[in-house]
């Protein structure tokens, strides 16, 4: 007795994987069902087109970072950069938190207030050591974008502030109590350092621009479409405002 024809037979026919003993049976069946036969022929054609479409990827040389030796060696090499970054942030949070307690005011725990605070901590840690502050330099924008996008879970774009005299100097991922954030660093007139911190927002998914200050550092912070931005520099709010406007415009029109 022969097993009835099933979906699996038809798929195996499309894939050219039909066992020989089913071949005749299916061919006969398809000859009697021309509509089904033409549908399956089309599917076969599409299967071939699909594998042809991805052929070029297959023959591309693999990046050396993907070699098992490289991966194994890196794992042996010990602590990774983000351990250092996390440690730096913890230090900064500890210091910042302690400093805040001096005046018995805790920093905001959530929303754009928290974001401004995170931006300031990271600015203090990284912008003061400009040579090493950028994990990924300005020449590797693509790499930075793809890495940061993946870690943050959103497509990031690097704000272009060149027209305002701020040169992009690189970027890095930083740890925040609300998950990873991307920090872009810029160098402006008379070596002013400016940072833009950005991350997804749980609260304050949309918030209007709010200037705040801490010591000599001014921040303008806002959120659009679930993403928060904080621009930080030791510059007056009047000087930061046009930069913030530019970043917001670019993010909304990109």
């Amino acid at each position: 007795m022969t097993a009835p024809i099933g979906e699996d037979d038809l798929m195996a026919w499309v894939d050219g994987r039909l066992p020989p003993e089913r071949g005749l049976l299916i061919d006969t069946y398809l000859a009697e069902n021309p509509d089904l036969a033409s549908r399956l022929r089309l599917q076969k054609e599409q299967r071939l087109a699909l594998s042809a479409a991805f052929l070029a990827v297959t023959s591309a040389p693999i990046p050396s970072a993907m070699r098992v030796d490289t991966i194994a060696a890196r794992r042996r090499a010990g602590p990774q950069w983000w351990h250092a970054a996390a440690a730096a942030l913890l230090l900064a949070v500890g210091f910042g938190g302690g400093w805040g307690l001096r005046t018995t005011t805790l920093p905001p725990q959530a929303g754009i207030g928290a974001l401004a605070q995170e931006a300031t901590y990271n600015y203090r840690v990284y912008a003061s050591d400009f040579q090493r502050s950028a994990e990924i330099g300005p020449d590797d924008r693509r790499q930075l974008i793809s890495w940061a996008s993946r870690r943050i879970g959103s497509r990031v774009a690097i704000p272009d502030l060149a027209s305002a005299g701020y040169r992009f100097a690189g970027g890095r991922l930083v740890a925040t109590p609300h998950g990873p954030a991307v920090m872009f660093l810029y160098e402006g007139p008379s070596s002013t350092r400016l940072a833009v911190l950005s991350r997804p927002m749980e609260i304050d998914k949309a918030a209007k621009m709010t200037p705040t200050m801490e010591g000599n550092i001014n921040r303008i912070t806002w959120a659009d479409r679930g993403i928060g931005y904080s621009v930080v520099a030791p510059r007056s709010p009047a000087e930061l405002q046009p930069l913030a406007d530019t970043i917001q415009r670019q993010a909304l029109t990109a």
């Binding site: 894939d15 299967r47 071939l48 087109a49 991805f54 591309a60 991966i71 993946r150 879970g153 497509r155």
Partner: protein, 169 residues
């Protein structure tokens, strides 16, 4: 070369291809493959003798699904570019007379479950049993996803682009 390298490295081109078919963005796809390989090297001993190929594809597949969920949950910094990127750099005519961008758009429009089934079988050429293992579903489920996905793909490609698709024999 240690045994891991012998077993893993020949599969890397296929893994990259699978990730790119999902993401279209070349460097993002490679990042996820890198993640997958690092997990594989780290948890090599926990593989418990599973076949390497479906095991690696399963790790990568789960990373791709997680990535998709994260994107959906968080919204984008800027809207994700819906246009086909330069990621694959293949001339359209290579896609056997079928409009390449149309093929990719149609693939993107499939439900992820069906797309995964089609890619694993048609492009990665995994056996039905291996593909089912990667997706962690019974064989029958794989077959019906494959069948429904292929029907749907044909409909999507057909829509508006029929004359280009139907080659005269």
């Amino acid at each position: 070369m240690d045994q891991r390298a012998v077993l893993i490295e020949p599969l890397i081109p296929g893994l990259r291809r699978y990730a790119r078919a999902w993401l279209r963005d070349e460097s993002l796809a490679d990042d996820l493959v890198q993640d997958c390989l690092e997990r594989a090297v780290t948890s090599w001993r926990r593989r418990h003798g599973d076949a390497v190929r479906p095991w690696l594809y399963a790790i990568l597949h789960n990373l791709l699904v997680d990535h998709g969920r994260r994107l959906a949950r968080r919204g984008a910094l800027v809207p994700i570019d819906a246009a086909e990127g330069p990621a694959l750099s293949i001339a359209p005519e290579q896609a056997a007379g079928m409009e390449y961008s149309d093929l990719m758009r149609s693939l993107d429009a499939l439900p992820p479950d069906q797309r995964a089934a089609i890619l694993l079988v048609s492009v990665e050429d995994l056996s039905y049993a291996d593909a089912a293992a990667v997706l962690d579903v019974p064989m029958g489920t794989l077959m019906s996803r494959l069948s429904r996905g292929r029907d749907r793909l044909a409909g999507l490609i057909g829509a508006g682009e029929r004359p280009k698709l139907r080659r005269v024999k």
